[in-house]
Symmetry: D2
Subunit: 249 residues, 4 copies
């Protein structure tokens, strides 16, 4: 029997979790007006501080049950992602909520939606990639510039730029606490049931490496006003997501 596209399984758009991720990030940290940010963060989450982040990244991802797909279906294991995140809280729990997270594949779109991410499909996401053997490109050094963008329709929904200044360590990167989300599946008729639940993404196995920190700029189609206190970083990160836990009803 074919799996339903949203129900994890071998013939679904989504393999069974947990799902493992390894990503190369170009990230900008910034502050924005709480009044603007409050319009990007739905209840029951509340904007906590002015702190935000925006990133563009390339992700290699596999299901725990099907890591061999990197070679049997490589197109099911690589995608690009771009997102803006806002520091907020749910009751006493501090975290980050991503008002929108653009991705380039069906399976990352649908996997994200069932876990509570507000995912959208991008037309195109692109970011700086260097190569150690390219004779025209040097190694990363102070002054090396990175950038990434996301296009959807006629809009550049996100553009980030980072000029690195020095090597860093994982603890140099700002942290935002838990990762929040909203699982929603709406009615299209009164006879139907629906789902509407705030969640915390269940992340584990987090590790970060290859950190460089520096200056950053960000532009987005989301209304964040004029971002200030900007900084930037590039780094690799890995983690595992097993699902998401409901925070309350």
């Amino acid at each position: 029997m074919l799996d339903h596209p949203l129900v994890p399984g071998d013939t679904s758009a989504v393999e069974k979790g947990p799902w493992h991720y390894g990503a190369d990030y170009v990230t900008v940290y910034f502050e924005a007006d709480v009044s603007k940010l409050s319009r990007l963060v739905p209840r029951p989450f509340e904007v906590e501080t002015r702190s935000c982040m925006a990133y563009v990244c390339e992700i290699v991802s596999v299901s725990d049950s099907a890591a061999e797909m990197v070679s049997t279906s490589p197109e099911r294991t690589l995608y690009y992602e771009a997102a803006v995140g806002v520091n907020c809280r749910f009751r006493d729990k501090i975290g980050i909520f991503f008002p929108v997270m653009w991705v380039t594949t069906e399976w990352s779109l649908l996997r994200g939606l069932i876990n509570g991410y507000q995912k959208r499909l991008a037309d195109r996401i692109s970011l700086t990639k260097l190569h150690p053997l390219n004779p025209g490109l040097g190694s990363i050094t102070a002054g090396t510039k990175f950038a990434g963008f996301c296009v959807k329709g006629i809009e550049t929904t996100l553009s980030v730029k980072v000029e690195v200044q020095k090597r860093g360590v994982p603890s140099d990167l700002p942290t935002f606490g838990s990762t929040f989300g909203l699982r929603r599946f709406p009615r299209t008729d009164a006879s139907q049931e629906s789902v509407d639940e705030p969640v915390e993404i269940l992340k584990s196995n987090s590790r970060v490496s290859d950190v460089w920190i520096g200056k950053g700029t960000v532009q987005t189609s989301l209304d964040i006003g004029s971002p200030v206190s900007l900084s930037g970083a590039i780094y690799k990160s890995g983690f595992t997501i097993s699902g998401s836990r409901v925070l309350g009803r």
Copy 2:
């Protein structure tokens, strides 16, 4: 506030319904082994006959509340679709269930999923299009050939070919009764709620025109065995979908 991607609204991936459709179809009708078909149709639906259809089409679709998007966001009003449908029943109600329906845009994917269609994102869907002023192409006549295909990853998931033999009328086309679907939104953790409900798509305003009928062939990555009793048709069709009604729990 930004809408959730799945919750119909101005900033969602899905506009508020009802949704109107106008499509150009290349369709093949065929029969297949009930034992094969039964593995494509999940409970509570039961395969009724050996009758099936498969089509590739181009669709112009607008929300009732935002028909102006054909000019303000034309990329949100045109998509391609390919599907295989199986005649089946739910209790006494006869209908058609589509084990999978491939589409080319985010909004048709997500709109379909909330209405109960088992939609997947195609990499590419293409079908024969003629043009009345192209000096190298004549008008449709007996013997004109049409075709369409859908590619996803390395698979041609569906390929249909129709050679028309004569003009037809809408009543020449086989009918399948209601359109069935399954609305599912799974748990990724025991704390979550889920949705799992068989539905009937709420279709109205159906009209068909420009019918030509003839011979057809079909190939698909779905296991339908060796299709027999093949025929084909091309036609235009329009309809409205307002949502989907739960059939039972």
Copy 3:
């Protein structure tokens, strides 16, 4: 033997000509500063007047020798095109030169380049399409709005909008004379030969139908200053291109 990608043949990217076209256009006519336009038109062409056009269209195209490809390879017979054209002259001959013409397929890109069009590959071209059976869309009438755009990288390279006011006839559409182009194939080493020749595209079988005329607006990444005297039209057009004749050396 495999054909070279640029040399017309069965296994080339380009089939043998002549090539037939049938297209649905959304076109804006406008005037711009001759000083701006002169920077878009290379020698030996000279800007003749302030008259320009910009369009977005969908094209069904077949080679004279392989019209059956509409059903055997439909993806090789449909593409989208967006372009800006400038009225100019070569000696006594009046015509139009397109500084850039964006298209969505390999074969239209390469076919155009060997005929002398300055073609580029777009990431996405989209334009208004209506459908006669869509219950949410009426027939074309005074006030119906059409639009089209072309995106490449992070740029919307062209956006046209037309609001039709009344039916027209083919003779209502401005004409520009011949279609000019530049066939160029450069050296990448002194040992190589090169081609650099101004040409006139050899067009025949021109026919136009379904004309509606009205108001128009245009925005483009090309520097055309502030366009004035804007009007717009939608129409169908068909023609044949057999190659291009060298105008002089």
Copy 4:
């Protein structure tokens, strides 16, 4: 003035050379019937041995004059490539000719064509990518599997699979001598000039690293019969191309 799409320049599809490359390869080496191979290699090249290679790779490429594009236009510096190469000779010179080389971007397509590569645009190229921080993926070790494929239309034009067995060194990789090509720009009318010249690609700065060798398999839409003596490798490679030298007329 806008550059012609094929003439290297700031506003062309092709930046001025030399061009630098850094790539990650999944490569299969094999032997095939000389009679089959001879139908893939045009005069004046002659098939020398039964030796062939096929690869899928990801390439970071920059122009020597615009290496900053990795951050200003990252979409202009990354592409995917898939190709089959045949060992052959031109008079006394031994080399490799690629009957077709599929790529994913306009600029790699057109840059290749002016240098003499028989490039075609792919719909999709995908290959195995690992990530050092992905918790579900280990490091490369004996038995790690890599794969890559290229899809164009409904065809998987190339599929390669490599299972690595041990670390290697650059000298473990078969060599093929010079890289041959054919620069062709055809006439579409008798009045036009044309280019038709065999060339040797001017490559320098070659370096290879991160070699693993093992078993390999290949499938392609090119008629290579039944490949034998298969082996595989993965590796990184960097090089510079400055253009191509004409071999004779």
